[in-house]
């Protein structure tokens, strides 16, 4: 935690890489982006449990890739191709299902196109995974304004409950074995459902009691007038935003909708600030947005902006046409831009490296 980077910086960097990935289907470029994200994660992640998120998201990405290819092979695609790899038996469908095809020829062009599209999604997931691995999502929520604090806590509690739930399921499935029943299969999973939910409920009640006893939800005495003003500002702001959005979508609203949107946003913001007065909370060691945070976030933004700019000049290189078949090429300028995303691996503070397992053992030994 000491000298750790502002979590917002990591998220901006990761979102920048994600934006860059969403602008291209060139597989080499996409793999380069995933490699950049992976290198930074490997270089700068800690030993905390959430730091394993990158691997989980990578696996999720591979799953997406596989599912997408399977669906392509079954349903076909609109890409006209000449290189037929294999012809699946086609299922005849009634005429009301026209336009849908089940089975039939699978072309190399179509398969490649589907793979590129899926790869893009997988790389996006990898970028989100990188953000999760590098910045504790709970710490990001700590940077929320005071009025939204309670919503943030709800999310944090939910985030910590998921791993607990998984541990409960594993423990109870193991206990099934102790009763002489099989711990594998769907039935085993279903039979532990009720006890797991009971356990989760009990744990939430215990946590609520603990939080209450530790002062959660204490409120400062705020004058009635301020409370009323808060409610009025928030309500008016949200209403104004809705009306302005309606106007912007309509044909003739542009003249009055834009100013209204501005005023409404101000009112809602004022409501949040006033609402924050009721919360007596302070923040322990808030994350500072320092020069390194600027550099990390900046590198992500530059990669994203560069890729958007390259979209006009290198259109074909970034989105190679599926027909005719050709080996993908690596456009040099965009690739160089993507490499800028490596900056955090050098400027972000290095984590104190030590395996949590050996640390526990050392700690125990010391006692």
């Amino acid at each position: 935690m000491k000298h750790s980077l502002h979590p917002g910086a990591w998220w901006l960097w990761a979102l920048g890489l994600g934006t860059a990935a969403s602008r291209t289907t060139d597989p080499l470029l996409l793999l380069l982006i995933a490699a950049v994200a992976g290198y930074v994660v490997a270089a700068r992640r800690t030993d905390a449990p959430w730091a394993r998120a990158y691997g989980v998201f990578l696996r999720l990405g591979l799953l997406v890739l596989g599912v997408r290819m399977l669906f392509f092979a079954l349903l076909g695609s609109a890409i006209p191709g000449t290189h037929v790899l294999v012809t699946l038996p086609q299922v005849p469908l009634p005429h009301w299902a026209m336009g849908i095809r089940l089975g039939g020829p699978v072309t190399a062009e179509g398969l490649l196109f589907a793979a590129y599209e899926a790869l893009r999604l997988a790389v996006l997931l990898a970028c989100v995974g990188a953000a999760n691995a590098l910045a504790n999502p709970a710490r990001l929520l700590r940077s929320l304004p005071g009025a939204l604090y309670e919503a943030g806590v709800a999310v944090v509690v939910a985030l910590t409950f998921a791993p607990n739930l998984v541990a409960d399921v594993q423990r109870l499935r193991a206990a099934r074995r102790l009763r002489g029943r099989s711990e594998r299969g769907v039935r085993a999973l279903l039979s532990v459902g009720v006890p797991v939910l009971e356990g989760a409920l009990e744990r939430s009640v215990a946590l609520a009691a603990a939080m209450d006893a530790r002062g959660f939800g204490r409120q400062a005495g705020v004058p009635r007038r301020v409370r009323l003003a808060t409610a009025a500002l928030t309500l008016a702001g949200l209403l104004g935003c809705c009306v302005a959005a309606y106007g912007l979508l309509g044909a003739d609203g542009a003249t009055w909708a834009l100013p209204l949107l501005g005023v409404a946003a101000l009112a809602a913001g004022g409501g949040l600030v006033l609402g924050g007065r009721r919360a007596t909370r302070t923040r322990y060691r808030p994350d500072r947005w320092d020069a390194r945070a600027w550099l990390v976030a900046g590198s992500g933004v530059v990669v994203a902006a560069g890729m958007v700019w390259a979209g006009s000049g290198y259109g074909d290189a970034l989105n190679p046409p599926p027909v005719p078949l050709a080996a993908p090429a690596l456009p040099l300028v965009p690739a160089a831009l993507v490499l800028l995303g490596l900056l955090p691996a050098f400027v972000a503070p290095a984590p104190a490296k030590r395996s949590s397992a050996t640390a526990t053992a050392a700690e125990e030994a010391r006692k």
């Binding site: 009763r179 322990y284 006692k367």
Partner: protein, 537 residues
């Protein structure tokens, strides 16, 4: 600091009040210990101090509870958060954030303390509790004793005047318990904090108490007094008090040190008494289970490393060692929950992790640390019927076992509504229904009062006499001394001691029972042994 004025609490669906007519004054800077059997209302009294009773639990509170001059009827728990710090039985259930430092700061953030004050107090508390090296660690990676210290630290940072703790040492190994108690004593002595704690393991805490409140249960009035006075009449007492009572020592010693001073004559008489022939004759017979240089890895940690152990029928073996030493892993690998990475496990000729759960059931049964994990059904009767089916026993066998082990458990009760002791008995009966030759128990005495513990000892002795092999993992040195023929000590996944209990535990500061510490020389481990030898009482 804390006053109870004729306080009664009755929960919504309860027939009788949980506590009634409690009058109590706890002055500032005292360590007050609540003792009493399960269900006598200890947790209710603790909850009334922090305001969780009745604001959070519901129910009706009569009379008046004031803390630091604040009436808990008009102050919700969050309004008392700056004067009362509460730590429940399970520290993990207490944590709101995910790292040590954030957890210590959480309470102060809620109270809105300025940043520089928070920073200073976190540093002070890290030092006070010896947590400085753990400050960045995620809470889930901490050991039991570390978690308990973090939980205490997390309420200390707001500088509460009163600290309320529910069984702070029950789940801890002897060393970690000492650590936590040392911290509490330091708080009382140095900072003048008032500490109110409930604890079943009296042998660990009673010598630190300034005042003891005995809740006899059954609606009787609480007995309040100095520890020595209350222990003289209490139905629950640690071995040191039992020995003191039997030997007629006045005033009653509460600590091993006090007792040793008075024990000179006793020691002399004991040295002239012939040492009883070792009751634990070397157990013979076909081994029930053999572990041969077993290693188990869990999450890249060596949980077990080259452990060799043979378990025979009729023998009670205690498995001891600090939290995280690999005790549960050893039990788990005997029932096939873990696959050994090296070495072999053989239970009745079967390899547990490859055997069908059903065939294994007749060889070995495990009562897990949380007996509730074993119970799925919504009534005791349904649970017993399911156990008969699982174990291939005649219908009614499990129910008859429950009735034999602990009469008076209703058929329609939900297993969740049973007391800790009843639930353990039900789980044990479920396991025994399949008539396993080897019975394993993981921390069976956690949360049990002395009466439930005594009953468990009787049951396990009967089982051993009937030829079952028993292996129990425990932190409870007194239980091991009373029950176990043989003691095995694990450290860091390795077996460091294995032999007759009297030889292994005597001389070990952590694992010796109180009687052994008082009497010193000789194989004396329990009060009954000494009493029988000298013809006292």
């Amino acid at each position: 600091m804390i006053t109870f004025e004729s306080v009664s609490v009755r929960y919504a669906d309860a027939a009788a009040p949980a506590v009634s007519g409690v009058d109590l004054k706890i002055p500032e800077g005292e360590l007050c210990l609540l003792v009493g059997p399960s269900g006598s209302g200890k947790s209710t009294l603790l909850g009334a101090v922090s305001g969780l009773v009745p604001h959070f639990t519901g129910g009706e509170l009569r009379g008046r509870v004031t803390v630091c001059g604040r009436d808990t009827r008009t102050h919700r728990p969050r309004d008392l958060a700056d004067v009362v710090g509460t730590v429940g039985q399970d520290p993990l259930g207490h944590f709101v954030t995910d790292t040590v430092e954030d957890e210590l700061a959480y309470g102060m953030e809620s109270l809105g303390l300025p940043g520089d004050v928070m920073r200073r107090r976190v540093e002070e508390t890290l030092d006070l509790l010896g947590l400085a090296e753990l400050r960045d660690r995620p809470l889930v990676t901490l050991s039991g004793g570390q978690r308990q210290r973090v939980a205490i630290g997390s309420v200390l940072t707001v500088h509460p005047k009163v600290l309320v703790l529910d069984e702070p040492t029950s789940a801890l190994d002897p060393g970690a318990a000492e650590e936590v108690l040392a911290v509490l004593q330091r708080l009382v002595h140095d900072l003048g904090t008032t500490v109110l704690l409930a604890e079943h393991r009296l042998e660990r805490v009673v010598q630190y108490a300034d005042q003891v409140v005995l809740l006899p249960g059954d609606g009787q009035q609480p007995v309040v007094g100095s520890p020595a006075e209350v222990m003289a009449v209490s139905p629950v007492f640690p071995p040191v008090v039992a020995l003191g009572r039997a030997a007629g020592w006045r005033p009653l010693p509460l600590s091993v040190r006090d007792a040793r001073r008075k024990a000179g004559p006793l020691r002399e008489r004991l040295s002239s008494v012939p040492v009883p022939a070792a009751t634990a004759t070397e157990a013979t017979g076909e081994p029930l289970a053999v572990l041969d240089r077993v290693g188990v890895r869990r999450d890249a940690v060596r949980a077990l490393d080259g452990v060799s152990l043979t378990l025979r029928p009729g023998e009670v073996t205690a498995l001891m060692g600090r939290n995280g030493a690999g005790k549960s892993t050893l039990l788990g690998s005997l029932v096939g929950l873990h696959t050994p990475s090296s070495g072999t496990v053989s239970v009745g000729g079967l390899t547990p992790h490859r055997a069908q759960p059903r065939t294994l059931l007749a060889q070995v049964g495990l009562v897990p640390q949380e007996p509730r994990d074993l119970l799925y059904c919504d009534t005791v009767a349904a649970e017993c019927a399911a156990a008969d089916g699982d174990g291939g026993a005649t219908p009614g066998a499990c129910r008859a076992l429950v009735e034999h082990l602990l009469p008076g458990i209703g058929d329609d009760v939900h297993p969740r509504d049973l007391s800790e002791g009843q639930r353990l008995t039900l789980a044990l009966a479920v396991v025994l229904t399949a008539r396993p030759r080897l019975v394993l128990l993981d921390e069976p005495t956690r949360g049990l009062d002395y009466a439930a513990k005594a009953r468990l000892v009787t049951i396990l002795r009967e089982l051993a006499e009937a030829g079952h092999g028993i292996l129990l993992a425990t932190h409870d040195v007194e239980l091991a001394a009373e029950l176990a023929h043989r003691t095995v000590i694990l450290a860091e996944g390795e077996l460091v001691a294995d032999g007759p209990t009297a030889e292994v535990v005597v001389g070990s500061p952590a694992f010796a029972p109180q009687v052994a510490k008082i009497v010193g020389e000789g194989p004396w481990l329990t009060v009954p042994q000494v009493v029988d030898a000298l013809g006292l009482s």
